[in-house]
């Protein structure tokens, strides 16, 4: 081969740099660019009917840790409506019913009408105050 070793080394360096820069960019892209955007779930109106075997002075419903509905059920029934996101996986609602500490075993039926108009029912049983998580899908 002809030419000075210094020149050949320089040309080799240029060649490696030309290949290396795009390779580096390919393998070290900013991570955020890779993350798929999460599908936003729209807020939707949900209707709820409560039927209790014993009156309660306070009922509350939480979704994702936030209270979305509170009320009383002095006549063993209550109705409500709240707006929450309803993903295809369904929702968990934490329902607290303020039955007295000394109350005998009582039950509550929670009927939900989801955004598509489908009715779902879940039950809670408790002797004393109730605090349960119910899943609706």
């Amino acid at each position: 081969m002809r030419g000075s070793p210094l020149l050949r080394a320089f040309l080799a360096f240029i060649g490696i740099a030309l290949v290396g820069v795009p390779l580096w960019r390919l393998t070290h892209r900013p991570a955020a660019a890779f993350v798929a955007p999460r599908v936003e779930v729209k807020n939707q109106s949900v209707r709820m009917e409560l039927t209790l075997t014993q009156p309660a002075n306070r009922v509350s419903v939480r979704h994702l840790g936030k209270v979305v509905w509170t009320g009383e059920a002095p006549n063993n029934t209550a109705e409500g409506e709240f707006i929450i996101p309803w993903p295809p996986d369904g929702v968990d609602l934490r329902v607290e019913i303020g039955w007295p500490e000394t109350a005998p075993l009582a039950a509550a039926r929670i009927r939900l009408t989801d955004p598509e108009g489908t009715e779902q029912e879940r039950s809670i049983w408790s002797a004393g105050p109730a605090d349960d998580v119910l899943t609706f899908r």
């Binding site: 991570a31 660019a33 890779f34 993350v35 994702l64 840790g65 996986d89 968990d92």
Partner: protein, 315 residues
């Protein structure tokens, strides 16, 4: 009467000696009956259960201490000696202790070896093609029982009943004490279950995607509506293939997973690579293989730490 006849045969000076001997035997027997039940435990969770249920009526030797990796543990001669002197030996089971044969040999059939996890249903998982470090090999793709049953509070309640019953068999006189203590501990577990339910309910169901470095959270996931994507297989000794890591990276991107989790006994290098490639954050360390130290040194503390870490990072 036999003893009268026997007594009549003895020379007069021997009679007080015989009486003393009989009284001594009776006293030794009474003292033995009053001794706490000697228990050997090979799981930090079972150690807690035995201590809670047994109270002062058990003497529990914890062979696996908090912070020890049970997948890698092998009993030493001192462990086998203690096991040989125990009345009840508690094992996690579901193939966690590959050295169970050694323990049974050490007991010489005198003590009861209780394979607690085998008393309730298992979830299944595929083993990797390697030695798990617990004394035997599993073939590639072989379906094995998932040994991490303690990530379900319901399973820990089941284990409490098993331990109560085995302690009662070892010391029937303490039946009422064991039953009372087991009820009290179960009530604590019920309160913990409620806490877990309420905490998990703070996380939308469509965000319950758990990526960990060791496939140990199936029982938790099943009870709480999570999908698990594990970097490795069943054991801490597993090394993920580059193909599996690439698949996970693709899954995390597709699912939009917000955070991934390391575990105490893991090398987090692979997780660091995944976080770099996906943009997901490192959500914190989970205790997968037993109790930790300090605040996580109890089952309640460990469970609250794990559930809080998962929920808060994925929110």
């Amino acid at each position: 009467m036999l003893h009268l006849k026997f007594g009549a045969l003895l020379p007069e000076p021997m009679k007080p000696m015989l009486s003393s001997l009989i009284v001594s035997f009776a006293l030794v027997s009474l003292a033995r009956a009053d001794e706490p039940v000697r228990v050997s435990s090979f799981s930090t969770i079972l150690t807690e259960i035995a201590e809670q249920v047994g109270g002062s009526r058990v003497n529990v030797t914890a062979h696996i201490k908090p912070g020890t990796d049970p997948h890698e543990f092998q009993p030493k001669p001192a462990d086998l000696k203690t096991v040989g002197e125990s009345q009840v030996v508690l094992l996690s089971a579901k193939h966690m202790e590959g050295y169970v044969g050694k323990l049974k040999e050490a007991t010489g059939g005198k003590s009861t070896v209780v394979e607690v996890g085998d008393k309730f249903p298992s979830l299944k998982m595929k083993a990797g093609d390697h030695d798990h470090g617990h004394g035997h090999d599993h073939g590639h793709g072989e379906v094995v029982d998932d040994p991490h049953w303690w990530h379900s509070v319901a399973n820990v309640k089941r284990a409490t009943k098993v331990v109560r019953d085995e302690l009662t068999k070892a010391s029937p006189a303490d039946k009422a004490t064991f039953a009372k203590n087991a009820d009290a501990y179960t009530a604590k577990l019920d309160a913990l279950q409620k806490w877990v339910n309420n905490k998990v309910a703070e996380l939308p169901r469509n965000q319950r995607k758990l990526v960990t470095s060791h496939d140990a959270f199936q029982y938790f996931a099943r009870e709480n509506g999570f999908t698990v994507y594990a970097v490795e297989g069943v054991s801490t000794a597993d090394q993920p293939s580059s193909k599996k890591v690439a698949e996970l990276i693709a899954t995390i991107k597709k699912q939009g997973v917000k955070a991934i989790f390391a575990e105490t006994f893991q090398n987090p290098k692979v997780l660091a690579e995944i976080t770099r490639e996906t943009g997901a954050k490192l959500g914190g360390e989970l205790l997968s293989d037993g109790l930790g130290e300090g605040d996580t040194g109890t089952f309640e503390g460990m469970t609250k730490h794990n559930v809080s870490t998962i929920v808060d990072a994925l929110k």
